[in-house]
Symmetry: C2
DNA sequence: CTTTTGTTTAACCATTTAGTTAATTCAAAA
DNA sequence: TTTTGAATTAACTAAATGGTTAAACAAAAG
């Protein structure tokens, strides 16, 4: 037997691949079975329904993603260091999982409630309160400009996520090949923190 | 008879609404027929297939979108004014059509070739060459920092598009209601140009 | 009034798709 | 070696879905 969960894992891997690329409504159970090299009935043997498999994929996509941010954002690093590390880590992670951002954005848009549920079940692990407080402290200390912390966080996320989520569009419009695009993303690892930190300097 | 293209228009409107919200694979012909208040067969009478209706919706989504940018970006405005006007116009437009960004990003991701085709058929109306040249001129004249024009354009798009495309995610994570979010977007109309222009000052 | 032409619908068809069932394979325990 | 129980499959079902057809309908043309 293929015990020790080898089959289950290969199904999960296949489901991840298909769902991340096609989304829930675009994915077919047969595609997943083919990708995993198994019979379609085996999908239902391990996971009961399309919804159930998708839920695990969505959950993992969320976990692979948000938590990696939280660690840095809730750390005790000085603000500017934190921004630099966050952007580097985040762009690197997203580059390694290029389908995740658009997948998450699209599926949350389809059903915002799903995110709310997950956030509750994860006990709001991602709550950038500490980061917001840190920004406010620096403002009061006169170390940085008086900016809206929420706006700043959105800027930071936008500058990291959009180049990955919008890659095919940007490539199409600006006519960039894969090599050019990889270079461009590498540059951003140093340029985006500079821009963000500059925007805070008084 | 409902002549003078009234029916056709109401079908297009319905299709737009459904496709923009659900995407191609998530949309059902029956949903569109119901939304338009007509029989499903009538959809095929006016448009031959799901693909054909979708194509029109995609085309219009692209047209409502890109061209509005081009006008500003290809105008003769001074650089800083251009940035200010572009961001204001773009955030305003996107706010009025909140489903468009994610729809475009998602569908291009599903089939990047579709965009390429459209760009060709639109004879590359959107080519920010003039804007890139303008930035380069300003750099040579020592008026602004030596930045990568492409990176700058990506930053500009990211800061405008992401807050709309990622609205449900941002709302969920930061716990913002509709009123707070609208206010936040209004603030960005003045804050984003400041940030972008600051990032160019030597 | 009748004919003609374009519009709209009810009913239908073929395919796709998620999910089920019953039989089979296979590894390991007895 | 036989038995047992989980893993796997082929074949199937029911519902959904995109698309078609033929008839009904409405309005303009004759």
């Amino acid at each position: 037997m293929s015990r020790d969960g080898k089959t289950e894992q290969s199904i999960k891997d296949a489901a991840k691949k298909i769902f991340l690329r096609k989304g829930f409504s675009g994915a077919r159970m047969q595609d997943i079975a083919d990708e995993a090299g198994i019979n379609k009935a085996l999908l239902h043997y391990y996971f009961r329904s399309k919804e159930k498999i998708f839920d695990q994929v969505f959950q993992e996509a969320l976990e692979t993603f948000f938590p990696r941010i939280i660690e840095v954002i809730n750390s005790d690093l000085p603000l500017f260091d934190k921004i630099t590390v966050f952007v580097r880590e985040y762009i690197t992670t997203l580059t390694q999982h290029p389908y995740i951002p658009l997948f998450i954005l699209h599926e949350i848009s389809q059903d915002p409630q799903r995110l709310i549920q997950k956030l509750i079940s994860m006990q709001n692990e991602f709550r950038p309160q500490k980061f917001i407080a840190q920004i406010q402290t620096e403002i009061k200390a006169g170390m940085i400009k008086s900016v809206s912390p929420v706006q700043f966080i959105i800027n930071m996320l936008a500058l990291c996520i959009f180049p990955i989520a919008g890659k095919p569009m940007i490539q199409g419009v600006l006519g960039l090949d894969e090599i050019q695009y990889r270079l461009l993303l590498e540059q951003r690892i140093t340029e985006v923190p500079k821009l963000l930190i500059d925007s805070l300097k008084p």
